[in-house]
Symmetry: C2
Subunit: 386 residues, 2 copies
């Protein structure tokens, strides 16, 4: 019986995790749950799994939940998240908090020796070196939940890394694959939120439309699989059936495919090294009929180039990229800057950053804070109708 703490249990990944766990109650016990503020959904999860502790990041929401007398300890704030992430009786922590807020709780979970099912890519984007070093030191397993990294993980499957030539991440291309540069100037948040193949949260759906999601995944892949950025390629594959590939030195390629559904990689991260039965509907390739591939257009989608620049630069730069992107996406979703301003905000924030070595979580968090403030300033200048 694996004992789980689920950080971000009410988000898109969290809800899918809950589904998988519900279908395998003989194999899992949920010891802790953490959410931002969706206490209604959290309450139903508490009633199903009866964890000992939950954390609600938002203090006023936590206060409301506490009054409900659900026979569960209700914690709040970052310290609450950290407590759920480090519970003594948890074996595996599902790290599914969106964005940079996931960093500290995940880092603390690793320090506490918990295996991590890692859905939050910002953890490795912001502080990959620190996180990997800590995981190695504690003998902790980082099992990827992102579909692309889960695919790579499944393709590698204990193979000799010396025989790996390249990793190839596939990208759907997002909502605007067929929009030309001038059309991109005026697309709306509502348009950007229509993802062609994956049902996901808002932030990641916008990141898919800019290709920044793929950029963050490139950085994550570099850390997870110990690959230099020049050995991590991106190819557009609009059908999202091939989730990623590994190219070997002899010219062989091993690819992972399935119908696009996050229950697949979530389930694998939880069942690893086994597999559960019938997680996803069978893939019927004659029904799919065709899988297509194209090179990403870095001119229309410069965010992907920025991500490569950031990981090549190293130190605090990927963290700054990520923070500036979080701010820019948020302001775009508010309708205050254009879609094409997102990479401009990131690029200008990066160019004003003095890179430091990411020696401690504090350095990383400071860089992230600096970048957020700077990005807000820059976004203000690029504001629509300014």
């Amino acid at each position: 019986m694996k004992r789980l703490s689920i950080l971000g249990s009410t988000g898109s990944i969290g809800r899918n995790t809950i589904e998988v766990v519900k279908n395998h109650q003989d194999k899992f016990k949920v010891t802790g749950l953490a959410a931002r503020n969706n206490i209604e959904l959290l309450e139903s999860q508490i009633q199903i799994f009866k964890p000992k502790v939950v954390a609600v990041y938002d203090e006023s929401a936590a206060a409301i939940l506490k009054k409900k007398d659900l026979r569960v300890e209700v914690l709040t704030g970052e310290s609450g998240l950290v407590e759920v992430a480090t519970l003594n009786d948890a074996d595996v922590v599902v790290s599914a908090i969106v964005g940079s807020d996931g960093l500290v709780p995940t880092h603390e979970a690793i320090k506490a020796g918990k295996d991590i099912a890692l859905a939050n890519k910002e953890v490795l984007v912001m502080a990959g070196g620190l996180i990997i070093a800590e995981a190695v030191k504690r003998g902790v397993r980082l099992i990827p939940v992102d579909s692309e990294h889960s695919a790579i993980f499944q393709c590698l499957n204990g193979r000799d890394m010396d025989e790996v030539h390249k990793i190839v991440l596939t990208a759907s291309g997002g909502a605007f694959l067929r929009k030309d540069a001038s059309e991109l100037e005026t697309v709306t948040p509502a348009q950007a939120l229509k993802h062609p193949t994956w049902a996901m949260g808002k932030k990641i759906t916008i990141d898919s439309a800019t290709l920044m999601n793929k950029g963050l995944e490139v950085i994550e892949a570099c850390w997870l699989f110990d690959m230099p950025p020049e050995k991590v390629d991106v190819v557009l594959h609009p059908q999202s059936i091939i989730h990623s590939m590994v190219k070997f030195i002899d010219g062989s390629v091993i690819a992972h495919m399935s119908v696009p559904d996050m229950k697949g990689p979530i389930s694998y991260a939880l069942s690893y090294p086994q597999r559960f039965q019938d997680v996803l509907p069978a893939l019927n390739l004659p029904e799919v009929r065709e899988l297509t591939f194209e090179e990403p257009d870095l001119r229309r989608f410069p965010s992907l180039s920025l991500a490569y620049d950031a990981i090549r630069t190293g130190g605090t730069m990927p963290c700054v990229l990520n923070a500036a992107n979080e701010i820019a996406v948020g302001i775009f979703l508010e309708g205050k800057i254009s879609f094409t301003a997102i990479p401009r905000v990131i690029s200008r924030t990066m160019s004003e950053h003095k890179v430091l070595s990411s020696d401690t979580i504090e350095v990383v968090l400071d860089a992230s804070e600096w970048a957020k403030v700077k990005a807000v300033e820059i976004a203000e200048e690029l504001r629509i109708n300014n």
Copy 2:
């Protein structure tokens, strides 16, 4: 240093094997070569590798080679093939003789404890049960050289077979994928020999056009991977980039891809468990642009159904299927029966066969001989302008 005996060194697989070995002379020593009758090419191979022994199946060709005084022992006939297959100083036997002639030498090589790089699919089609039992008994490894089985072998890579849901063999569809049933009546051998993606020998190219090649591969896969026929599927994939796939119980699919070139699987069979560098050109999927898939049409290509029927029936039936097919293809190549008569010859031969349990190689060889005689009779009745 692996010591190799190469059976069928002048055929299509044999020549590719020689190429791979030439590029890695530090890793291999060739101890024996065997060919049917192409002594010109064999002579050049002898001069490169200086084996101690060669076998030339054809006696008159062997006599000519003997006179050349090449400082090599020249054997002949089936006993010559067997001697090369069982040389004391060979570690691995490359079994690349075309057709049923490969059975006895390969069986003897296994009995002599040699690991087998298996390119001859008839060995398992004719006598899978015997061969697998012998290989298990002797602790011999059967490493597939067929691109599809090599792909499956690479996809499995030590995974738990209990988690395998299905094996999916891909098929190019051969020369006549887009011909309708009436057109198939009148296609010529020359048309059938134009394979869209693979450069191979004549027999296998015709087998690709009838889909019998895939049928034989289904039977081979059942034996190699210990799968019942209902768990081995076939999907048409005209680009021949995905060489085969494994479907797992959770809905995940692992696929093996490369540019279509037999040097890939041959090289892997020889280098296994390692990989050689730069065997094949890199696969560039954006250049390939699209991979397509469709269900095989069993009405136009009934040979595939016959193969499933044969393995489901078991015993000597797959052997009879194979022998009748060899005869029918030979007579088609002579222009004496139509393309669509090939499956008719096989089907009628099968329906007249009294199935026996394949307990010994003799039973298998007798069934094969019976089927050849019977198939010639039936083909005579179906002769064009009869």
